[in-house]
């Protein structure tokens, strides 16, 4: 099975939605909503390669390098990073700002808002709320935008490494 990653599905993904794998848990309802949006464009081989069979067997290490360079993987990675980097930076800055303000400007934090509730209380509760919100957003993003593509890559990669090991021995 010397197919490059991301290229062995000729038809649309819907034709073959299930993998024969015990770990593959039934997907949450959200999967349907993403039809198209989350799916990677099919049929994009990572790079032009010789037809199967004319090539010397590769080592497993080369498989990972090849997958890493493939467009499908780069897309998964950039989707992951495009969410994690800004969201991570945002909550970290917000949290550090909270801690630094609490200790350098206690007067600001003590300013009453409503009754006994002051700015500091609201900021503290706000930290809880943003954490819940970001958790939900991350889980949703991963489920809709990354899971399916990552799973495809996983099987492709495992197929390739198996092929490489078999060929080398």
């Amino acid at each position: 099975m010397e197919t490059p990653p991301g290229s062995h599905h000729d038809g649309p993904y819907q034709d073959d939605p299930r993998y024969d794998d015990p770990w593959y848990d039934a997907l949450a309802s959200g999967w349907g909503e993403s039809a198209g949006a989350g799916a990677l464009e099919e049929g994009q081989p990572p790079r032009q390669r010789q037809p199967v069979g004319e090539e010397p067997p590769r080592a497993a290490a080369d498989v990972y390098l090849e997958v890493q360079r493939s467009e499908a993987f780069q897309e998964v990675r950039s989707r992951y990073r495009r969410f994690v980097v800004p969201a991570g930076a945002a909550f970290f800055v917000w949290y550090i700002a909270y801690v630094v303000t609490a200790t350098t400007a206690p007067a600001l934090m003590a300013r009453p808002v409503a009754g006994a509730v002051n700015v500091g209380m609201l900021a503290g509760i706000g930290q809880f709320l943003t954490t819940f919100l970001l958790t939900w957003a991350y889980a949703r993003h991963a489920r809709l935008r990354r899971d399916r593509a990552a799973l495809e890559l996983r099987w492709d990669t495992q197929e390739l490494t198996r092929g490489a090991r078999g060929g080398a021995s």
């Binding site: 770990w23 848990d25 290490a61 080369d62 990972y64 390098l65 997958v67 890493q68 993987f73 998964v76 990675r77 992951y80 994690v84 969201a87 991570g88 909550f91 970290f92 949290y95 550090i96 909270y98 801690v99 630094v100 609490a102 200790t103 350098t104 206690p106 934090m109 003590a110 009453p112 409503a114 009754g115 006994a116 509730v117 002051n118 500091g120 209380m121 503290g124 509760i125 930290q127 809880f128 954490t131 819940f132 970001l134 958790t135 939900w136 991350y138 889980a139 991963a142 899971d147 990552a150 799973l151 890559l153 996983r154 990669t157 495992q158 490494t161």
Partner: protein, 530 residues
């Protein structure tokens, strides 16, 4: 305290111990003794089960007793712990949980060693994992000790000593006989008990104030003797710049430390896929977030109903605020309700300590057997079963934790946990993040990152006012305090990252592109994951 409290609390606690021992033996019957089974419980837990178990592992006695106590004594400043402990989970969710599940097998060192020369990396990461775990264990032991001191009237040192020893012995039994599977079920049972107890107490506090949070806060502020200052930052960490930097240092350590805690990382290996790991973290964030919101209510409730003076009189560090609050909520010291509620809270706190302690012991015995022993034993030596070594390690770690727990018994448990977090964030987090995300990272960088975070953080704690030079120190009579902050995070975490960067830059070897590709592909796709 009256005899009724003691009897009932001991009864409830004994039944918890009986149940957990039952779980351990029941699980032990089906044990095959494989490494997979011992460290990862067979990897077949569901996200919800693991989410509860993660919460059980994380919501320690330090949170339940320590944070509420700090809020009861210092008001707003105690809230920082609640916020930091929760926000930290975003680091875990975003950067660590799924990737670690995909790349590793049992320990933190697995992830790093996959890319690097195995031996030096395992020795370094194994040592730092054990150090963090032992610090964290000590905090739990101290919590157990002060609970018993409260239960038995606080005068008998012998009872306290025997409790710490008893807790240590139980945790060794759980871990060495039941492995990860028993530990996980104990965590789940404990998480349910703890959440149930916390919900009940929170509801009672709110009912007492007729749902009027404003009045709760005002009463707490009035009773504290500080007025509105009680509701604003500054009571514990205000004043001079040293304590302000201490506050910032603690804040950074809390948010970055969780992702480096070995016993939290090892929980991700108990589920089948990265997707399941992510979903368990989402569960955990929901449970933990709810719990910490409730500890805030309990803390202010204790300040309002019990009063900081009474809390301080019972335990100077505030560790007994919640049991005292329960006594009051039930109707006072001489009522049946008070007795029952107090006993329930004490038993839940014990259960919490036992469960957390079991989780940490398991993780550290994995580090000893899987990382240190496997790297350090002589090549020609008869290879002993790794599980047998892990069981022995659990006994050794138990002994060390008992000894240190007896020594450190007068420190606030939440504060001790803050130290463990600082060491985890300095020694474990940099190497983990560099391995997962930095293409040029090398073996030397990895080794330097661990030692460059571990050594400064431990040395700074030794030179800090925690150990010597002030009346509250471990050794009040000595004075070798050269570092002003109680929490080393502000200095040692950047040092860990810096050391990793320097080590990589000065490294003579070229970074291994293929290994990096393998780590990156595996971490994001799960290819080849066990």
């Amino acid at each position: 305290m009256t005899g009724d409290h003691q009897t009932l609390a001991l009864l409830l606690f004994s039944s918890f111990v009986a149940v957990t021992l039952g779980i351990t033996t029941w699980v032990g019957r089906h044990r095959q003794g494989s490494v997979e089974e011992f460290y990862a419980g067979g990897r077949l837990f569901s996200p919800m089960e693991n989410g509860f178990a993660i919460s059980g592992d994380y919501m320690s006695a330090a949170s339940f007793l320590g944070i509420s106590g700090l809020i009861a004594l210092y008001g707003y400043d105690g809230m920082l712990y609640s916020v930091g402990f929760l926000v930290a989970w975003l680091v875990v969710l975003f950067l660590v949980a799924e990737l670690v599940r995909n790349c590793g097998r049992f320990t933190l060192a697995d992830v790093v060693a996959a890319r690097m020369r195995e031996r030096p990396v395992r020795i370094a990461a194994g040592t730092s994992s054990v150090t963090v775990s032992v610090l964290y264990l000590v905090a739990q032991m101290v919590g157990a000790g002060s609970l018993v001191a409260l239960l038995l009237g606080g005068t008998t040192d012998a009872a306290r000593t025997w409790t710490v020893i008893g807790v240590g012995a139980l945790m060794v039994i759980y871990v060495s006989l039941g492995g990860m599977r028993a530990t996980t079920w104990i965590q789940i049972v404990k998480a349910v008990l703890l959440l149930g107890g916390t919900v009940a107490l929170t509801a009672l506090v709110l009912v007492r104030f007729h749902g009027d949070v404003d009045r709760l806060l005002r009463t707490a502020a009035g009773r504290s003797g500080h007025g509105d200052a009680f509701l604003a930052p500054g009571l514990a960490y205000g004043g001079d710049w040293t304590s302000r930097f201490d506050f910032i240092s603690l804040g950074i350590a809390l948010v970055l430390g969780t992702a480096g805690l070995p016993h939290i990382l090892s929980r991700f290996y108990t589920v089948p896929t990265a997707r399941a790991a992510r979903r368990s973290v989402v569960w955990a964030i929901g449970l933990i977030g709810g719990f910490y919101l409730m500890t805030i209510v309990l803390g202010f409730g204790a300040a309002a109903l019990v009063g900081p003076d009474a809390v301080r009189a019972s335990n100077a560090a505030g560790n007994t605020a919640v049991p005292l609050l329960a006594l009051d909520l039930g109707g006072g010291a001489d009522s049946t309700g008070g007795t029952v509620l107090f006993a329930v809270v004490a038993a839940v706190a014990f259960a919490t300590i036992l469960a957390v302690v079991a989780g940490i012991t398991l993780a550290s015995s994995a580090s000893v057997a899987h990382d240190l022993y496997a790297s350090l034993r002589r090549r020609d030596a008869e290879p002993r079963s790794e599980v047998a070594v892990a069981r022995l390690a659990a006994v050794g770690i138990g002994a060390v934790a008992i000894g240190l727990g007896l020594l450190a018994r007068d420190l606030n448990v939440a504060f001790l946990v803050g130290l463990a977090f600082a060491v985890a964030a300095s020694a474990n987090l940099p190497v983990l993040l560099y391995s997962l995300f930095w293409r040029r990272f090398t073996t030397r960088g990895a080794v330097w990152a661990v030692w460059g975070g571990l050594v400064p953080s431990v040395v700074l704690v030794l030179l800090s006012p925690v150990v010597s030079g002030s009346p509250q120190s471990l050794f009040p009579g000595l004075d070798f305090q050269y570092f002003p902050l109680q929490n080393p995070g502000l200095v040692s975490i950047p040092l860990g990252f810096l050391a990793g960067w320097l080590g990589t830059r000065t490294s003579p070897e070229a970074p291994d592109e293929a290994k990096h590709a393998e780590t990156e592909v595996r971490s994001l796709t799960g290819a080849g994951a066990v």
